[in-house]
């Protein structure tokens, strides 16, 4: 159960994001369903996280946790509170200094039965074309073959809040969820990641 303040904050954010973007979810290829899933999407803005969170139905929102970069999202107490209490994200560290496998927190969450939201590009792109996917998605698919992999395309969010701006602008955005995919038997890592990326990009035009 979320504490009161987090609850109010999440309602406020939901309202705000609906007014600014419409936060439309388009389910092409799979219905919203309470099964364990890994949603993977393109990444162009910090608002992506909020966007995909707001687009999910209420019932799924509580059991779906996004991955967020630890260094950025724990920089200030407010950011940390927001990502912990409101979004309940899973932190991953981007620097490779520690010995721990950076995917360890993700394994833990998936073992608990949570669904996760992943941005396999690892960092925000600015060109419009998603960058090549990092290997994390492949490793997760390999380790958890029963979790459903759902590609998603987040449209337009980069226009809401471009890098370096503070005031967001209202632009209609949408999240398109595609047909679930699976890791083929003995499928090569690079081939799988390329296929996953293509599945995300293909959703841009439906």
């Amino acid at each position: 159960m979320q504490p009161m303040r987090a609850k109010i904050m999440s309602l406020f954010l939901l309202g705000l994001i609906r007014i600014l973007t419409g936060s439309q979810a388009r389910w092409h290829g799979c219905p919203p369903k309470a099964e364990q899933r890994i949603y993977f999407a393109n990444h162009q803005s910090h608002a992506d996280l909020v966007m995909i969170w707001a687009a999910l139905p209420k019932e799924l929102r509580s059991m779906t946790r996004a991955i967020a970069a630890k260094d950025y999202w724990t920089k200030t107490p407010f950011k940390q509170w927001l990502t912990t209490a409101v979004f309940n994200v899973i932190y991953v560290s981007r620097d490779r200094s520690s010995d721990e496998d950076p995917l360890e927190p993700l394994f833990e969450a998936l073992d608990n039965g949570d669904s996760i939201i992943l941005f396999p590009e690892g960092t925000r792109g600015f060109t419009g074309e998603p960058q090549p996917f990092k290997a994390g998605l492949y490793n997760l698919a390999l380790k958890f073959p029963n979790v459903v992999l759902v590609p998603a395309w987040i449209n337009n969010v980069q226009h809401v809040l471009p890098k370096g701006e503070v005031v967001p602008v209202p632009v209609l955005c949408s999240v398109t969820f595609g047909t679930p995919m699976q890791l083929g038997e003995g499928e090569d890592r690079r081939a799988f990641l390329e296929r996953a990326r293509a599945a995300v990009v293909a959703l841009r035009d439906v």
């Binding site: 337009n156 701006e165 005031v167 209202p170 632009v171 209609l172 955005c173 949408s174």
Partner: protein, 332 residues
């Protein structure tokens, strides 16, 4: 008949407006019940059933828009001018959001967009609310149109600068400037017509809506050669003329709720309908430029736009023209 007329005339303005809502809600209710009954009817063959399904779908969309509009008016009227103003400001906001989503801007326009949504829009509606009509008429065409390109230029991005400025200015002109003239009618002081301005707003919206619906149906039924097929497959002078004529005649019928005699009401409705019908056509050209059939065709748009602009674009063109001709006529 005449007794009824005198009875209605002797009611207070508040009672009259209340009566108007009762009538309009009643008509809408009848239409909705009729549409529902048609939708459950059995059909002999599949082709006919399919035809009716399509007909009913567009009818249904129209009915829903009308319910929404009447509901907005009712809320606005029941809760006062400022609430009505806020509601129209929200319509402006959502319409502009739709317009700008489908006319993508560059990152350099971010500051101008922030200004458009969070400064220009509230200020314009505040000017309406305060009744500063001289300032309200020139605020956007003069001051905003000089200030916004400045904000864009300061962003240091010359790429397609003229095109981007034009897009933003058009969006503001149609969605904010045009729309804000509808509630502005509430603030005008027509001689001997105090407390009844809501009727004038209703008059404007009703005649424009009747004109648009007639034009739409006429274009489908008459199947005349389109004038500009590259822009609209349906627009032709005959159906446009018919729409304007029916809208204006409807306006003449509504003369009782305006400060005008039927002839003048006809003329006022004629001006509003002509502008509305042609404005809708102009907006079609803009949509074609963007390569979309509708601002928010259901199931087709990537943006999830609700298609609000499709429904109000005629009004956005009709309102300023109607407003200024009414002001000029009464010299207020």
């Amino acid at each position: 008949m005449f007794q009824m007329y005198y009875y209605l005339r002797d009611l207070s303005p508040t009672q009259q407006i209340g009566m108007l809502f009762v009538i309009v809600f009643g008509v809408l209710l009848l239409a909705s019940v009729g549409a529902f009954l048609l939708s459950v009817r059995e059909h002999a063959d599949e082709a006919r059933a399919d035809f009716w399904r399509k007909e009913l779908k567009s009818l249904d969309a129209m009915l829903r828009t009308s319910w929404l509009m009447v509901f907005v008016f009712w809320i606005g009227w029941a809760l006062g001018d400022w609430v009505a103003l806020t509601l129209f400001a929200l319509v402006s906001f959502f319409a502009l959001r739709e317009f700008l989503t489908l006319s993508p801007t560059r990152l350099g326009d971010h500051r101008s967009l922030v200004l458009a949504f969070f400064a220009v829009l509230p200020v314009q509606y505040a000017l309406v609310g305060g009744g500063y009509f001289d300032m309200f008429a020139v605020f956007i065409p003069v001051y905003v149109f000089l200030a916004l390109p400045l904000a864009s230029a300061l962003a240091n991005d010359p790429m397609r600068f003229l095109e981007r400025s034009a897009k933003l200015q058009w969006g503001i002109m149609v969605c904010i400037y045009g729309m804000s003239h509808v509630p502005a009618i509430l603030m005008l002081k027509f001689p001997g017509y105090e407390g009844r301005n809501a009727f004038m707003v209703f008059f404007l919206v009703a005649v424009v809506q009747v004109c648009m619906v007639t034009q739409h149906i006429a274009a489908q039924r008459m199947r005349r050669k389109p004038i500009a097929p590259a822009i609209s497959q349906s627009f032709n002078w005959d159906s446009w003329g018919l729409g304007v004529l029916v809208g204006s005649l409807f306006g003449a019928l509504l003369a009782g709720i305006t400060p005008w005699v039927p002839g003048t009401a006809f003329a006022a409705a004629f001006i509003a309908c002509s502008a509305g019908g042609l404005g809708h056509f102009v907006m079609k050209a803009l949509k074609r430029d963007r390569g979309i059939p509708n601002w928010g065709a259901e199931g087709q748009s990537v943006t999830g736009a609700g298609g609000l602009l499709d429904r109000v674009d005629g009004l956005c063109f009709a309102a300023p023209v109607f407003f200024h001709s009414a002001r000029w006529y009464f010299g207020v």
